[in-house]
């Protein structure tokens, strides 16, 4: 019976492979990643708003740009799924936090968020290896580099707090330094 089954499957065309060049389980995880990037984008937007209201305009600009970048990440994955025969799902975003007590807390939250995204990407790469989805693994390489950079950026911001303090004039000066924390070694 089992032998018959095997013969039967060998005769069948690999219709999935003809239509979808990535693995179905990987497609699910990529859709989860879309949700995470969308959530990151919304979270950064909330941080930008807080900074705006607290007269930290450079930090606000930084988080506005960060929000846009996360949306780009989301779209990259979205297009990748659809371009490879899968179906990408437009994410729902819920539970965005708008309450922060300081800019330092915001950057700490941002770093935690980037670390958890890195972990999620690494997890995805691990899964790709398990199912031999080399195409997606290759696609995800860019994200690994990107995550490394983003974590470093947030760490650089947190270093500034150690250096310049978290209140008064120090905070104002720190806000002026924010535009320089990005892309220090990227360009």
């Amino acid at each position: 019976m089992e032998q018959y089954l095997e013969l039967n499957y060998r005769e069948m065309k690999d219709l999935v492979r003809q239509k979808l060049s990535i693995h179905v389980d990987i497609m699910d995880l990529l859709n989860k990643q879309i949700e995470k990037e969308a959530h990151s984008s919304s979270a950064y937007l909330a941080m930008a708003s807080w900074c705006d209201h607290n007269a930290l305009s450079n930090s606000a600009d930084f988080f506005y740009e960060q929000a846009a970048e996360e949306r780009d990440h989301m779209m990259k994955i979205f297009r990748y799924i659809n371009d490879n025969g899968g179906t990408a799902y437009s994410p729902e975003v819920g539970g965005v936090n708008h309450d922060f007590k300081s800019l330092e807390e915001i950057f700490e939250t941002a770093l935690d968020q980037e670390i958890s995204i890195s972990k999620s990407i690494h997890n995805l790469v691990g899964k790709c290896r398990k199912v031999n989805d080399y195409t997606t693994e290759y696609f995800l390489q860019w994200f690994i580099g990107e995550q490394m950079e983003e974590e470093q950026t947030m760490r650089r911001a947190l270093e500034l707090f150690d250096l310049m303090g978290t209140e008064g004039l120090g905070l104002k000066l720190l806000d002026e330094r924010i535009p320089q924390i990005r892309n220090k070694n990227a360009e």
Partner: protein
């Protein structure tokens, strides 16, 4: 046309000639392209079985529209449970097929 997977209420078939799939429901059989099969899988994944038992889904019914709303289905609790198993099984068979065809080349 070859059987992919059979559960208590449903049977999936693969048709190599037309490059498509068929699913036999208790009262009718429908034809699906691969994308439509993926969409079906997604809808079934989103069925919250727990809601059938904690009183949230009071009637114990799931309504699904398939193939760009061409078909409309209503499933009861038992069928919904079977449906989840059915799609997992169907995709497991497709994956097995993928493995066999790549390893035989």
């Amino acid at each position: 046309m070859k059987v992919l997977h059979q559960s208590q209420f449903f049977i999936s078939y693969q048709c190599d000639k037309q490059r498509c799939f068929f699913i036999k429901f208790p009262h009718k059989t429908i034809q699906l392209g691969f994308c439509q099969l993926l969409a079906f899988r997604q809808q079934v994944k989103e069925i919250d079985l727990e809601a059938h038992f904690n009183g949230q889904n009071t009637h114990g019914m799931e309504m699904l529209m398939l193939c760009n709303r061409e078909h409309f289905f209503v499933f009861n609790t038992l069928e919904s449970i079977d449906l989840k198993e059915f799609l997992t099984g169907t995709f497991a068979m497709l994956e097995l097929n993928s493995l066999l065809t790549t390893s035989s080349v």
